[in-house]
Symmetry: D2
Amino acid sequence: MTKRIRLGMVGGGKDAFIGAVHRIAARIDGEFDLVAGALSSTPEKARDSGAALGLEPDRCYDSFEAMAETEAARPDGIEAVSIVTPNHVHGPAAKAFLSRGIHVICDKPLTATIAQAEDLAEAIRQAKSLFILTHNYTGYPMIRQAREMIAAGDLGALRVVQVEYPQDWLTEAAEQSGENKQAEWRTDPERSGAGGSVGDIGSHAHNLACFVAGDRVEKLAADLQAFVPGRRVDDNAHVLLRFAGGARGMLWCSQVAPGNENALRLRVYGEKGGLEWSQEDPNYLWFTPFGEPKRLLTRGGSGARAAASAVTRTPGGHPEGYLEGFANIYAGAAQAIRAARDGRRDPVLDVLPGLEAGLEGMRFIDACVRSSQQDAAWVAL
Amino acid sequence: MTKRIRLGMVGGGKDAFIGAVHRIAARIDGEFDLVAGALSSTPEKARDSGAALGLEPDRCYDSFEAMAETEAARPDGIEAVSIVTPNHVHGPAAKAFLSRGIHVICDKPLTATIAQAEDLAEAIRQAKSLFILTHNYTGYPMIRQAREMIAAGDLGALRVVQVEYPQDWLTEAAEQSGENKQAEWRTDPERSGAGGSVGDIGSHAHNLACFVAGDRVEKLAADLQAFVPGRRVDDNAHVLLRFAGGARGMLWCSQVAPGNENALRLRVYGEKGGLEWSQEDPNYLWFTPFGEPKRLLTRGGSGARAAASAVTRTPGGHPEGYLEGFANIYAGAAQAIRAARDGRRDPVLDVLPGLEAGLEGMRFIDACVRSSQQDAAWVAL
Amino acid sequence: MTKRIRLGMVGGGKDAFIGAVHRIAARIDGEFDLVAGALSSTPEKARDSGAALGLEPDRCYDSFEAMAETEAARPDGIEAVSIVTPNHVHGPAAKAFLSRGIHVICDKPLTATIAQAEDLAEAIRQAKSLFILTHNYTGYPMIRQAREMIAAGDLGALRVVQVEYPQDWLTEAAEQSGENKQAEWRTDPERSGAGGSVGDIGSHAHNLACFVAGDRVEKLAADLQAFVPGRRVDDNAHVLLRFAGGARGMLWCSQVAPGNENALRLRVYGEKGGLEWSQEDPNYLWFTPFGEPKRLLTRGGSGARAAASAVTRTPGGHPEGYLEGFANIYAGAAQAIRAARDGRRDPVLDVLPGLEAGLEGMRFIDACVRSSQQDAAWVAL
Amino acid sequence: MTKRIRLGMVGGGKDAFIGAVHRIAARIDGEFDLVAGALSSTPEKARDSGAALGLEPDRCYDSFEAMAETEAARPDGIEAVSIVTPNHVHGPAAKAFLSRGIHVICDKPLTATIAQAEDLAEAIRQAKSLFILTHNYTGYPMIRQAREMIAAGDLGALRVVQVEYPQDWLTEAAEQSGENKQAEWRTDPERSGAGGSVGDIGSHAHNLACFVAGDRVEKLAADLQAFVPGRRVDDNAHVLLRFAGGARGMLWCSQVAPGNENALRLRVYGEKGGLEWSQEDPNYLWFTPFGEPKRLLTRGGSGARAAASAVTRTPGGHPEGYLEGFANIYAGAAQAIRAARDGRRDPVLDVLPGLEAGLEGMRFIDACVRSSQQDAAWVAL
């Protein structure tokens, strides 16, 4: 193992949720050293958060612009940066680093608006550094396995895709309490985008379905609701899907379904068999070859295939979870960055979500909002 | 207990599936005696099937018309009849008995076509005898409980209804083998109606959702598919639902989803909580009051309410199944028929599915087909 | 189908639990007609209970002796009798009918004491009529399948048997309230026998393990407890098992395990694979061939074998339950009784529990009590 | 956050399993820096393994003795060491570091023999540095919660403890293939100790039960088997337990139960309620207050208590797994070590397993072996 990759972070100060997740994901395999941060747009909070993480004071920045400029000039400056801010900041922040040759690992969705997305896309295409989007659920070993099985034809031609992501944390008007920062920005169209549940979690469901199916959604018809009075964005969505390859599907996402925490679930059926997976029990993958008994494939177990084994750290029956799945994105990013040091393109980039996944996600969110405005008319992505 | 109710049956000869189910359901509580049958339209098969069931030879009829006429004239003639034929026969058969004052217990859907349904509806409205439709899933104790909880406001105003009924038995072209009678008539629009999966199982899902929600579907948008080449009716359907009371929902039914046997599943979410139920594990009802841990209510257990207890035969942990749920429709029918003997209307009729449920079901099937023909446009029921 | 079998019943009057279960089980397949009863030792209750069941007044008896004598003399007298009394009555009642050529279907355990059991055994051996013991859990289709798979060598030589039957209904001193008749007699050594939980449910667990393994327990070491102050019999038992064929096992039964209703569960492991089954979800059987993924076999599904199919009434995914499993014992009894009418011995008797299972059960209970009295020393059965 | 804790490691070179787990656990919270290692007793392997982990060449040692002596003399020497060798090395290695004031984090069981354990215990008692034993399952948040609930009296006085740990990886004679290092040393009494399954996994089950119950096993009766021909230690064990506080229990561990990966499962029942937990689905804890419906408590969910929240990193529904549970031991160790830097004893040491848990574990293994030699006689721990 050569030197660890020097990493910076934008966002993720105290009280943030996803920043801490990124940091653990970056640490699990020992591939990164977090050495710099613009952890908050409030200078004092940025400093305190950095100190709490053991950063040197002179590498705790007040803005991502300052961090990009200064770090790019240091001989020991960061090689990669994690962007974990609200969505509307993704674009400008990413551009600041990409333009200076620093690799970007960015939280999803790509941006808050389609216009921002296209602007960022242009920057990514022109950059020499890598852009990885943390659609973290694609990092689960049994999701990698499902994708591999479908690509290998184990299900035959796909017919039906059912995907859902219900939660319940916005069942009441949590964003109006003044105490829930997460609820506030995630229901604010300025910071989050026009999609509420479709942007925050529907985009994950859409991405996961496409990733596993090896296909893209071509058209959709969406019925969005904002059930909680005063809510500015949708908190529940029902979507009909038509895939380019001929499969049809449904997508449900909700933040108002009591009893659901993060119940992302994917089911795919083809001419020859079916696969079923649930994020809350991610070490299992149900596989039914048509006409045979259902089989419970386990991560690390006898039915595990190469794609799962490649991202497996513990034996079967010793469960891995959300952080390990997330860490598989970081592990892949590390592998790609090390190859980039040597001027190579690592094939792991074929599996890692990046710009294309990001753009598809933005098109999905936009299409949902437009379709719903037309009373669930079909809209092309 | 006074005398058992004398019962006849139309359809349900050898090789039929649902006829045997009706007979067991009628026997479980000892309320009926099967004494006559027009079990097949083939005379020899009618006789043999009757003999196998211990019927007297002179009460094994070649046609339902002959049975209706003859039995109505006997002093010990049948008081009720079960109709378990393919759908297109439901209407004429039911009319023959209703017009003679014989109570009818009819398999679902109501008929094969809307026109037949309206014709039958007229006959039912004018009849003095009862008409019960065996939407048998409404007989499950925990479904009765779910309905009661929602009516009592345990979930608050309903927001989201998710219902699905996937199967896999038509994943291949079973109807073309010449050996699968069930597959043949159920995919034949003449005998089954214009709906395939939506008629056979989608109608169950629709009925169950409405029964539990205590509401009706006002509009829907349906995307139907016939995935198997040569299939004459849909074998998969994705439907968006809008309920009169404001709830929104999704309905998925499929006969091509490998790994699903009869995976009817209902989930209902309201302002205050959520309920989840699965037909394959029917003794459980998951209840989450928002903000509290999920609770596993069991039939016969400490969380069981009056509506469940009233139709419960065994203690908690001794599972009841499909036949007991079906028998609860027959038990209700018996109760209503005994009351009718005395000229009373038994309140169990408020729970039992009958004409209204049947008409709603036909409207559902028809709306699905029409919507799909218009590329999933919204259609009113 | 020839004439139904004329059935009588001893015990099972109002407020009884298991009598109603036997009656439903006898009705499900339409093989029996209940025509006589000595339903209670209280004459008035016997009459009222009989009337409620539609029995003729002259066939409602005050005692089993009177019923045996009178029915045996009638040309249309009962051919078989179900005995559903407390355990200490099993012996005398069974003898009264066996000695008159009437077949006996008796609830388990065989008797209340070993001495009673030996006495009854002698009577059974000398009788010309059949004796069936309703160890009803052996009637579940997937239990029949498990037995068949093991007999076929699918697991190889057996090594480990884990069986348990926890309940929670006696967590508190229910027998002291004066309102719980079931709790009263089942904790009364005079009526129930020296075993409490080991007699009531441990005997089921023992029977099930032996039935499926195709083996017998040779020695055991038992640690019995009566946790509830004042309880006269054990309410929890931990037992080490050694099978004749070399397998070792553990048995746990409890009536004081909150959260358990009737959680009978069996797991069997051999050199080549493992099987797991739970009574509360009886339509599933988990099968793991060593080194392959776990498979979920379902009753009526693609993995079902002949032994399961033979006792299956509904398709896969339409769950059968406790009553159908119980009914399979009655269906087997009917088959055996019909053969006996013709002087034949039906091979179903090789599967149905009878005297041998009953004696093994009594030896099990007795060995548990004796072992525990010796501080869990090994005791031979 | 002040400086990371400088960590060394003994054992855990290439091909080892548990060493990699310890390293990830040490990294997850960013509290440790691995800076030195005696990773293998083969010098070349030690060097290569160290290089692969990014250790400086002069801190890759050929023996733990060399590492202890050299590191203790360095100003930047290690403050703590992880010992992840086969069991017989635990004692001498731990003593080498403890005697030099270096904190020890040691894999379980404490040692290979009781004599070694007593020798080590003496050293630990005289040392000024800390000794933590990685009974990692005690690190799971819902296990911490279960312990807290029981201590708070939520179950009332405990009555029954059921614990089991079945695996299947030694179903065949894997240790005889020459290719499975894990199987080799874990079935070698010289390196592993007299207990096979009881030492490797039974000791985990015993520890977990005691940890949660807040009690100790006073006596046991054990029936051990070595089912696989030629195996030198037990591969399956059935154990009756008597706790000091009056509860009774059973423990089953097995390495020959096909279909079980790491199915550690704990169930505890008291006068007022029951708790059930499974290691393979560790984010759930089932809680049944007697007489109420079962509740599904989730890590991070509404039923989570302080003890669980304190060791929780992700929200409910985003599962944590084995590595996070393991990391909670390391996080506790870090907290205790930081306090020790300041001369304080951190109260986390009341929760972390250490010498006492280690001695109890050794007594458990020894008692199992002795009891089994006496045909499962009761033996005091």
